[in-house]
């Protein structure tokens, strides 16, 4: 625990800063943590469980706090900075007009940061930059995962619809697919929508089938 060290005595080595990452998404939190350690910040704590958050912050007594902006505890967090004498006074990362671009980038990425009053912005700016890029990378990854999941789901539906057509109309696989594609084009719909209607129709007509 580094609590109580006066700010003035700190050397300018990045590793000296005590960084706290608060994120209910533990995977994202560890991605940030790894990034910080790689950048030479050895003193990193992660909180992903919000129980007793105020008490833990007082124990950790961080110089820099990185938090996801979706976190409903931000109002509480800001209020303990405002009133508490037990914690060094962190303030919002963005204190002047020149920071407008970084505020915007941070809010876009879904991250916010607080630093202890008196700490030079230049010393902590790399932390925020890293957090922003990792937050962005994380959402990109998530989006791709969702898309892949969606595609997989679609392919399954199309395969089932193809099977139905092959059985009920004696078509080959290629013919079944071509029929669905033609129908989709004619009705200005997606092929997966046609597949879905086929499956629904089949299950309504014959609840005994595997559709």
């Amino acid at each position: 625990m580094n609590g109580g060290r006066p700010v003035a005595n700190r050397s300018s080595k990045p590793s000296d800063l005590n960084v706290l990452v608060i994120d209910e998404n533990s995977i994202r939190a560890s991605i940030i943590e790894v990034g910080l350690r790689e950048a030479g910040y050895d003193n990193v704590t992660i909180i992903d469980d919000m129980n007793g958050l105020a008490r833990r912050i007082m124990e950790i007594n961080p110089d820099v706090i990185v938090i996801d902006i979706e976190n409903p505890n931000r109002d509480m967090l800001e209020s303990i900075f405002q009133i508490s004498r037990a914690v060094k006074r962190p303030i919002a990362m963005f204190v002047d007009k020149s920071d407008e671009a970084s505020i915007e980038a941070a809010v876009e990425a879904g991250v916010s940061a607080y630093i202890v009053d008196g700490l030079k912005q230049e010393r902590v700016r790399p932390i925020l930059k890293m957090a922003i890029s990792r937050f962005n990378a994380f959402s990109r990854l998530n989006r791709e995962l969702e898309e892949t999941r969606g595609e997989l789901e679609n392919r399954k539906l199309i395969d089932r619809a193809k099977g139905l057509l092959m059985r009920s109309r004696g078509l080959t696989e290629d013919e079944a697919y071509a029929l669905m594609r033609r129908t989709a084009m004619n009705q200005n719909r997606k092929i997966v929508e046609i597949a879905q209607s086929l499956i629904t129709a089949a299950s309504l007509l014959d609840p005994g089938t595997d559709a």
């Binding site: 902006i69 979706e70 109002d75 509480m76 209020s79 963005f94 407008e100 809010v107």
Partner: protein, 404 residues
């Protein structure tokens, strides 16, 4: 159809987002050629941040918060104006079953009377040994914090020394009560109703009893956006005014509760949202009481942004050490609320307007017809302890409060 105005509004999932939700869902925005996007957030800090970076043009926001932003009490601090209030009342003070039974022993009446419940709480605190009682509110610069503190101190309880007041997200309040982390909280709906129904809590008093006809959420507007889009803002105020009329109509309460219950909005059962709309509140122990003017969306100039409301919040910021009192600070608070914009925007709707933009809070003891047309009724607007707030004597009010 393309709309003339695209407006993005942030909101928190609370009952008093009703006017914004109705404006979008009941077509009032569309009728003004507004494409209104509503974005739900989970903290006031994020609403403020997204206003600052212009993700939001306007937001459903705590009435004192735009003043705090303009006074530079928050960072980032977007420059903001308040051209409209989003209703009067809507909060309650909820206490644990244990604390309520002690208060009842000390004479708290179950009708949410602020005076008797406050005096009872004082007796409980005076005879109590051990830890201080703990209360939760949603934000330091909130009506909840200031009305809870007003109620406590007017009841002879020092809010800084005799109790502890902490900040919690509203959805966590009731669970914190059950877990014994707090003994009571002041929050908006549906969190009081849910605390009573699901956690055995009891209502102690209501905002409508502490300060009658008082504002809770307002429309906070990024002033840069307002300057660049005067037509869009006027159109929005007209849409919101019409929506407030719709929300106020008892015939629409069931539909409004259903709208607000949707996953995109408050995402809680409609039956738990209805009490605040009808004023028939679950007060605890299976009782239901009719609380007069619990939440007022339109009547009594409920959407009018009174300068006296802004200045009262300012006096409380000074009182609790949030800001130093100077003539300049007072001016900033005064200028944040913009009844002039409200009047101009609603002129064509023939809305009955108050003649003044400021009033002595507590001067109206009963419902009083005002205005030339006589179509508008104001009040009662008093504080429960009978004290008046004269916005022309802010210095005197602040001095008197620092002595008490």
């Amino acid at each position: 159809m393309t709309s003339t105005h695209q407006i993005t509004a942030g909101f928190l999932p609370l009952l008093d987002s009703a006017i914004l939700v109705a404006a979008k869902e009941k077509g009032f925005a569309q009728a003004q050629e507004i494409e209104l996007a509503l974005v739900r957030e989970r903290s006031w800090a994020t609403i403020r941040d997204r206003l600052a970076v212009s993700h939001f043009d306007v937001a459903h926001i705590l009435a004192p918060m735009p003043i705090a932003c303009n006074l530079g009490l928050t960072a980032p601090a977007p420059r903001m104006i308040v051209p409209m209030a989003l209703g009067l009342g809507g909060n309650a003070v909820t206490v644990s079953a244990g604390l309520w039974s002690e208060m009842a022993e000390c004479g708290a009446s179950p009708d949410l009377d602020a005076r008797s419940s406050g005096l009872a709480l004082k007796q409980v605190i005076d005879r109590r040994k051990g830890d201080r009682l703990r209360f939760g509110v949603v934000h330091p610069y909130s009506g909840h914090n200031y009305e809870l503190r007003y109620w406590l101190s007017a009841s002879g309880i020092d809010p800084d020394r005799q109790v502890e007041i902490g900040i919690l997200p509203p959805p966590d309040m009731a669970d914190a009560l059950t877990a014994g982390l707090i003994d009571g909280y002041c929050a908006g709906e549906p969190w009081n109703t849910l605390g009573v129904l699901n956690n055995g809590a009891h209502l102690a008093t209501a905002k409508a009893a502490i300060w009658k006809s008082s504002p809770e959420k307002v429309l906070g507007v990024n002033s840069r956006w307002a300057d660049g889009h005067p037509k869009a803002l006027a159109a929005l105020l007209q849409a919101l005014y019409k929506a407030s009329l719709w929300c106020a109509n008892a015939a629409n309460h069931l539909e409004l509760a259903d709208l607000l219950a949707r996953p995109a909005y408050v995402n809680r059962p409609a039956e738990d949202l209805l009490p605040a709309l009808t004023g028939l509140l679950h007060t605890g122990g299976g009782e239901i009481r009719n609380v007069k003017d619990f939440f007022v969306p339109n009547a009594k100039a409920a959407t009018f942004p009174w300068k006296s409301h802004a200045l009262w919040f300012y006096t409380q910021m000074v009182r609790w050490g949030h800001i130093e009192h100077t003539a300049q600070h007072q001016q900033i608070a005064n200028d944040t609320y913009r009844p002039d914009i409200y009047r101009n925007a609603l002129r064509t709707l023939n809305v009955a307007m108050p003649a003044a933009s400021s009033k002595v809070e507590g001067a109206l003891r009963t419902e009083t017809p005002v205005g030339s047309s006589g179509a508008l009724t104001l009040g009662p607007d008093g504080f429960f302890d009978g004290n008046l707030f004269d916005p022309d004597d802010v210095d005197g009010y602040i001095a008197a409060q620092s002595r008490s």
